[in-house]
């Protein structure tokens, strides 16, 4: 009995290891980083090739880089509302849209004290502007989207940092 147990355990461990090797691909942070880099690096190369280095400080260069960075972010994390919104915005028009009135936020009734309620609403409006697609979300949605957005921003930072360090060293 002991032998069979041990054997079964080993089998299970092996299976789990095997499962790991397949599931590792789904490690969300790795997937994100991989996608991000795979989009950003070729895009940056293309930018550099198309434009002479004298234009590096121009606004259009900045904008293009920003565009590509945002695009990389949006493509790397497609599960979230903000990323879909960002992708949409980037693909549809290069110009910035006039900010919507955050009417949805006003209609959502927060039962707070008078002062605090107003403050919070103000802060939420600010948050709406920061998070892509925020203007169209109500309070609950914003809170959930902010979390994933923060995580993706942090991942983005890590990837960029490592890329920069690789370049420097």
């Amino acid at each position: 009995m002991k032998q069979t147990n041990a054997h079964m355990e080993r089998q299970i461990m092996n299976k789990r290891k095997r499962v790991f090797s397949v599931q590792e691909k789904k490690n969300p942070k790795a997937v994100f980083a991989k996608r991000y880099v795979s989009h950003l690096v070729p895009a940056l190369k293309k930018i550099n090739m198309n434009k002479p280095s004298s234009q590096i400080n121009s606004k259009s260069f900045e904008q293009t880089v920003q565009h590509e960075v945002d695009m990389a972010l949006a493509l790397s994390a497609q599960e979230f509302a903000w990323s879909r919104f960002l992708q949409h915005k980037l693909l549809s028009s290069p110009h910035e849209d006039p900010s919507y009135s955050s009417k949805i936020l006003e209609t959502s009734s927060c039962k707070q004290d008078g002062k605090e309620g107003a403050e919070i609403k103000k802060k939420l409006k600010e948050l709406q502007k920061l998070v892509p697609g925020g203007e169209e979300m109500n309070m609950e949605e914003i809170l959930s989207e902010v979390g994933s957005y923060i995580v993706c921003l942090e991942l983005q930072m890590i990837v960029l940092k490592s890329l920069v360090q690789d370049n420097i060293s």
């Binding site: 290891k17 590792e24 991989k34 940056l44 802060k123 998070v131 930072m157």
Partner: protein
């Protein structure tokens, strides 16, 4: 053989309600028909073999409520057959298996029926009183399970009647079914708005707590306004940093091609493990998961990467398992409500 088993039942369970036995017989016949038609019957039986303990316990708990003597008989019946389930299922044990199976399949069907009835609001074709009872009990059990999660958020000052009302509301919210099954209770009509408000506020406070964990420095601040402030500042700073880094990278671009090939998995690993931020909602740390070779045009040296993978795979698999499990259990990058 079936008849002999049935007669054994009837002899030992004189105290049992005869109608129950009859129903069970009828169900067995039904399930046998079902089993005979299904092509995957051996796999089905094996599946039930592995899940037998669960089903056994369920059936015990349910049937004990219906009849006292049923339990021991089942244990007798299942004893020998359980061992036979380890390997392939032999024909000689098929009758006992059928018995176990019928219960298991019945239970499964009743569970399916719950979801179906909850979804489509129509009753299943086969529905005995037993099934109804088991359904309700399963439903109650499922709800109580869900309520355990929700209850932790409920304030303690609420009266019991209120908690029961909120239970139904919260359970109906948390059940991830298309059709929300709400039980009508007395006096709930007028409270529906307040219930909805309360549930909404609970959700929001849950999310704020999560964000508190996510954003560094939020623990010191109290109150929603302060926390939102922190969050806004944090997001802004992150965005600025990203902008700065990306510009830097773009400027350094010419050397990028070289860099990509030198990019080793270990580097990314180090960064990922140093992340103070926890992705999963459960308090688990980052996994030392190696990156897979990046699909770049400049092909990476796979031989470099593989040893890294090997070493990390040999890491203690137990802890890794729990960590990765929790990672995978949460939706891809964190949130699951």
């Amino acid at each position: 053989m079936l008849e002999s088993l049935v007669s054994l039942e009837s002899m030992s369970l004189s105290s049992m309600d005869v109608s129950v036995l009859e129903r069970l017989k009828w169900l067995q016949q039904q399930q046998q028909q079902v089993l005979s038609t299904t092509n995957a019957s051996p796999e089905l039986l094996q599946f039930h073999g592995t899940n037998n303990d669960e089903l056994l316990q369920n059936t015990f708990s349910h049937f004990q409520m219906l009849g006292s003597g049923f339990g021991p008989n089942y244990s007798m019946g299942f004893g020998p057959s359980h061992e036979a389930m380890d390997g392939c299922i032999s024909r000689t044990n098929s009758c006992q298996m059928d018995q176990a199976d019928t219960v298991g399949v019945m239970l499964k069907n009743s569970e399916e029926n719950i979801t179906i009835s909850l979804k489509n609001k129509r009753k299943s074709e086969v529905k005995t009183r037993e099934e109804e009872k088991t359904e309700k009990k399963i439903k109650v059990e499922a709800e109580t399970e869900l309520n355990m999660k929700v209850k932790s958020n409920l304030s303690n000052t609420e009266a019991s009647s209120e908690t029961s009302k909120q239970k139904s509301k919260a359970a109906s919210e948390n059940q991830k079914l298309d059709y929300i099954h709400v039980r009508a209770r007395r006096g709930q009509a007028t409270d529906r708005h307040s219930l909805a408000e309360r549930a909404r506020r609970e959700k929001i406070s849950k999310k704020m707590k999560y964000l508190q964990d996510l954003v560094p420095g939020c623990n010191k601040v109290t109150g929603r306004a302060g926390m939102l402030d922190e969050i806004i500042n944090y997001v802004q700073s992150l965005q600025r940093q990203v902008e700065f880094l990306s510009m830097k990278l773009a400027v350094l671009n010419p050397e990028l091609e070289l860099a990509m090939e030198d990019l080793s998995v270990k580097q990314f690993q180090a960064y990922f493990t140093n992340l103070p931020v926890v992705v999963a909602s459960k308090p688990s740390l980052m996994v030392d998961a190696p990156l897979f070779p990046l699909d770049q045009q400049g092909s990476l040296d796979l031989s470099v990467i593989n040893p890294n993978q090997a070493t990390t795979i040999e890491a203690p698999s137990a802890s890794w398992e729990t960590q990765s499990q929790s990672l995978y259990n949460t939706s891809s990058l964190g949130f699951q409500y």
